[in-house]
């Protein structure tokens, strides 16, 4: 039992040493970057050129290959931020704090892309750029949560304090997201029943699933690649900050 817990401790704290993490990151970065570029390019070629047009929506539906993976990433990254925040808050794990902080702008971008592509898709399909649909509204609230998180994180002069404050916010937000989602669904069904049912989700053909999954894999790899770049610069920035502080102190 004792050895087991010790082992778990090593696993968790293995990357607490930034130098060790940087070595690991340098090794996997090219692979992640290659996978990201290959998958996204393949998915775009498949989705835009190979897959046949939908019989009802024509070519406009092809935006799904960006829209759905982006929405998926937006949610996944918030979950990652919440988990990393919990790890950072409970174990004071420095890398977990950095992962949470560096993930937030990427997640906010994916949320924004999801909203914009959804709006672009809505124009030809529903005849309007924006509908106060339950899903759209909860994505918008998610974007606000991301922005609040980023703002709080950068509001503190001391980065460790900023990390802890925003960790609390991320955890409160994580408790709230299901409630917000549920309440927005409820609100929408109460106010405007089924105005949007003209849009039937097409049951997807297998040939359409392939580019979608490729794009999800590509986006995940892209996220990891950007995360590694951001973590590297973040670690470097902290090192510079510590050196400066040491200079002032000495």
């Amino acid at each position: 039992m004792a050895t087991k817990t010790k082992k778990a401790g090593i696993g968790l704290h293995f990357f607490a040493n930034p130098a060790r993490f940087l070595r690991f990151a340098r090794k996997i970065f090219p692979w992640v970057a290659i996978v990201a570029v290959a998958c996204i390019v393949a998915a775009l070629v498949l989705g835009l050129a190979v897959v046949p047009a939908d019989y009802r929506q024509g070519d406009a539906y092809r935006i799904i290959f960006v829209h759905v993976p982006a929405s998926y990433m937006a949610l996944m990254i918030y979950v990652i931020i919440a988990l990393a925040s919990a790890a950072g808050f409970i174990w004071r794990h420095p890398l977990a704090d950095l992962i949470a902080k560096s993930s937030a702008p990427i997640g906010a971008c994916f949320t924004f892309i999801s909203l914009v592509t959804g709006s672009l898709w809505g124009e030809p399909m529903w005849g309007t750029w924006w509908v106060w649909d339950a899903r759209i509204t909860s994505m918008l609230v998610l974007l606000f949560l991301y922005l609040g998180y980023i703002a709080l994180n950068s509001a503190y002069d001391d980065p460790t304090k900023g990390a802890r404050a925003s960790a609390i916010l991320a955890l409160v937000g994580a408790v709230n997201i299901p409630i917000i989602k549920f309440s927005v669904d409820w609100w929408n069904t109460l106010h405007q029943p089924a105005t949007i049912s003209k849009f039937d989700r097409p049951s997807m053909d297998a040939s359409m699933i392939a580019p979608l999954l490729l794009m999800v894999v590509g986006f995940i790899a892209y996220y990891l690649a950007v995360l590694i770049i951001r973590l590297r610069s973040e670690i470097a920035a902290r090192r510079i900050r510590n050196l400066r502080l040491a200079q002032v102190g000495g």
Binding site: V141, F144, L147, G148, L152, A165, L169, L171, V172, W186
Partner: protein
């Protein structure tokens, strides 16, 4: 511990009472913000009747949010928050007392002003009782959720603007269920489900938010 708890509430209430007009700013803001709506959307009574519950609740939410900055900031600046933290009361209960005092100072005056404003907005009479119940259940939840935002931004220079960004997304469910209850009563759809969910939200906030706020305060006092 009970004495300390109520002592803290009493202290905040006395401070507010001696603050003069300063402590009434919230409710004055509420009245002004609501009276801007007829100027903005036009004075047709049918339109105002339709939007009254939403306008009242959105303004109550904004008024509560504006007053959140005072929950911990002044005590933090003059050092009394540190002394309170050293006292016999656990920080979680300090937060609870502070949030309760905040509700008594801001939420309760809002509840008194709300029916008058509802008359001005020509809200239909079926909604009045439910409006009061929804405010009674909803505004304490706003104070409690707001305590997290107030504790997270305590001592920050740009805290005032930041707090709105942190707290408003979390207020969305309260707004939806409260307005849903009032409109349910007005349109005869029934208000019970929404009010029960609001009550559930209040209990959950009562149980959970003091922990988050206390963690944030501990960090600020370090």
């Amino acid at each position: 511990m009970v004495t300390a708890f109520f002592g803290l509430i009493g202290r905040d209430l006395r401070l507010a009472a001696r603050g003069g007009i300063g402590s009434l700013v919230t409710v004055v803001f509420f009245v002004i913000a609501v009276s801007l709506f007829p100027l903005g959307v036009g004075p047709e009574s049918a339109l105002l009747e339709r939007i009254a519950p939403g306008v009242l609740w959105v303004c109550a939410l904004l008024a509560t949010m504006l007053s959140l900055g005072r929950m911990f900031d002044e005590d933090f600046e003059d050092g009394s928050l540190e002394i309170i933290a050293l006292g016999p009361l656990p920080l979680e209960l300090v937060v609870l007392a502070k949030a309760l005092a905040h509700w008594l100072i801001t939420g309760l005056p809002l509840m008194i002003a709300a029916p008058v404003l509802a008359v001005l907005l020509n809200m239909s009479t079926e909604g009045f009782a439910v409006l009061m119940i929804s405010l009674l259940l909803g505004t304490p939840t706003l104070s409690l959720i707001g305590s997290v935002g107030a504790a997270l931004t305590v001592g920050l220079r740009r805290g005032g603007v930041l707090i709105s960004l942190l707290v408003l997304p979390l207020y969305v469910p309260v707004l939806i269920f409260a307005v849903g209850a009032v409109e349910g009563a007005i349109f005869g759809l029934g208000e019970q489900a929404n009010l029960l969910i609001l009550a559930g939200g209040l209990l959950a906030a009562l149980a959970l938010t003091p922990w988050a706020s206390a963690a944030a305060l501990r960090m600020a006092l370090e």
